[in-house]
């Protein structure tokens, strides 16, 4: 094939995608960035300025919610890793043949339901008139209805649940690539369970751990439904503030600034996580 024809066909194939990304991702994001630096002096005059960003740092409500969201997301990510690791280990190393495939598939199926449906399922379980409360009363462990919904623990339960799959899959993938003799060698050299885990397994699984953690962290930080539906009155999530500014208060400038901050700070934390663990994004994301 002639070089120019090949160039042309490449461009023709790519054009719709590039156009779409340009018009519906790049332009809107730049527009959002621009709006975030505009200050409304009066109803029809706009000036450049940093007052939205100043608001974020001076009004404690904003940055406190952000820090809270960040800390809870980190905690959720860590918890998800703790829950998922043994599951992934079992699937990758202990299960054999048919049961391996079955366990892996069984892990995927709940996530074919939408986040809304899954969250609603948890609400049925945890609410005051719900299944867990009824079970506790039936067992005689509680005298009256117990409200387990609308608090931070409920939110974390929901978030860990939602993140689980995204942690299990990369972990299984990396652990499957690990040679079992490495672990045996670790034991033969006199290592205990913890030493082998720390010195052999974790370093080997690091790309999977980091990749799972990044995805779960980003999902959690940006999640909207779970904190709103399962959280209490004082467990505000940062995404809710963006919604409030944009839709309830119609303060686009502030909402845009919060959106930019969410994007920038989340990317920063991912970058920091990669640096701290000595991984590169390309290696982690395959």
């Amino acid at each position: 094939m002639n070089r120019q024809v090949s160039r042309l066909s490449l461009w023709l194939l790519l054009a719709p995608f590039l156009l779409w990304i340009l018009l519906l991702v790049l332009v809107p994001h730049l527009q959002m960035l621009r709006v975030s630096f505009q200050v409304r002096e009066s109803w029809d005059t706009l000036e450049w300025g940093l007052s939205q960003y100043r608001n974020f740092f001076t009004e404690s409500y904003y940055w406190r919610t952000f820090v809270r969201t960040g800390v809870m997301s980190l905690f959720t990510t860590f918890l998800t890793l703790l829950v998922a690791f043994p599951v992934a280990w079992y699937i990758a190393k202990l299960a054999r043949g048919r049961s391996k495939g079955f366990l892996f598939l069984a892990c995927l199926i709940p996530f074919w339901a939408s986040e809304l449906v899954r969250t609603y399922g948890w609400m049925i379980l945890l609410r005051e008139s719900g299944v867990f409360s009824a079970a506790l009363q039936a067992l005689g462990w509680a005298d009256g209805p117990v409200e387990m919904l609308y608090n931070d623990i409920a939110v974390i339960v929901g978030l860990v649940y939602n993140g689980l799959l995204f942690m299990v899959v990369p972990l299984v993938t990396t652990l499957e690539g690990m040679d079992d003799t490495l672990v045996e060698a670790g034991y033969d050299l006199g290592g205990g369970h913890l030493t082998v885990l720390r010195e052999v397994v974790v370093p080997w699984a690091m790309p999977g751990i980091v990749s799972g953690c990044i995805v779960v962290f980003m999902l959690t930080l940006g999640s909207y439904l779970t904190p709103i539906l399962m959280g209490g009155k004082d467990s505000a999530w940062f995404t809710q503030q963006i919604f409030t500014q944009f839709i309830t208060r119609f303060n686009w400038e502030q909402g845009a600034a919060l959106g930019v901050l969410l994007l920038v700070l989340s990317s920063l934390m991912v970058w920091l996580g990669l640096r701290l663990t000595g991984q590169s994004l390309r290696k982690v994301m395959g």
């Binding site: 790519l14 990304i21 986040e115 299944v131 940006g222 909207y224």
Partner: protein, 256 residues
């Protein structure tokens, strides 16, 4: 002992994985209105669902939206995946990276940036704005799904067809399309489910003229306990399961 412990742990994790979904499905057939009391088997919530005209309309709207969003994103995604699969070019890595950025960045940021754009350009909030937004968040997933399926495709097949005297048209019809069709179907079905399930982006870019199902469910859930939600949630679940099983089936069948 350890073996027993690890099995117990695994069993409890899987139990918790399935509990919320099983409970939802079971209670959708519960005749009683209260949360946990069992009032006998009944289809009354499904009945009241289908008697609700606005709900049925929202279902049709959602189906139509998902159908069109999946189709548009598969058409664009297929071309993109072909380009990324076949050619080496400068900026390919940037493009690959961009797919990940769009996929990973918080939905809500995409949602507000699109809302601002639509209002600025004067696109009415309704079917069109929803379609544009849904295609945007489906696109990276579709491209990656199609690309993953194409990576197993032997580049020598089309060449062999040509060497055997097939014209471009015949080659495309008898070799290329049968090979990439399963990949396209998988991408389409993924786009369809993503669109059908979306709440966050739709919350921002939908208007009163075009009500869709997930938003209707969402507003019902926010108000409180509504047994109809169990029924509609179950329907949605069964629908997604059927769609995804279909896509798996198409893929495994094509591999043989």
């Amino acid at each position: 002992m350890t073996r027993w412990l690890s099995r117990a742990y695994l069993a409890s994790v899987y139990l918790l994985l399935y509990l919320p979904i099983v409970v939802l499905v079971v209670f959708s057939f519960n005749d009683s209105r209260t949360g946990y009391a069992w009032g006998g088997l009944s289809l009354r919530w499904y009945q009241s669902l289908f008697n609700n005209h606005a709900m049925v309309q929202a279902m049709w709207n959602s189906l139509w939206l998902a159908l069109s969003a999946a189709t548009v994103s598969t058409l664009i995604g297929a071309l993109t995946a072909l380009a990324l699969h076949r050619y080496r070019f400068r900026g390919k890595k940037v493009l690959n990276g961009m797919l990940f950025v769009v996929m990973m960045s918080p939905e809500i940021v995409l949602a507000i940036s699109l809302l601002a754009l639509f209002l600025l350009v004067g696109i009415q909030l309704g079917y069109v704005s929803l379609l544009l937004a849904h295609v945007t968040f489906c696109l990276p997933f579709v491209v990656i799904t199609v690309m993953a399926r194409l990576s197993g495709f032997d580049e020598r097949l089309p060449e062999a067809a040509r060497d055997l005297g097939a014209s471009d048209f015949t080659m495309t019809r008898t070799v290329l399309i049968p090979v990439i069709m399963p990949a396209l179907m998988a991408g389409w079905l993924l786009g369809f489910t993503l669109s059908l399930d979306d709440v966050v982006v739709s919350t921002f870019v939908s208007g009163p003229s075009y009500e869709i199902l997930p938003l209707r469910i969402y507003s019902m859930v926010r108000v409180g306990l509504k047994p109809e939600v169990n029924a509609v949630g179950t329907l949605l679940l069964v629908f997604s399961l059927v769609m995804l099983m279909l896509s798996q089936w198409i893929l495994t069948r094509s591999k043989r």
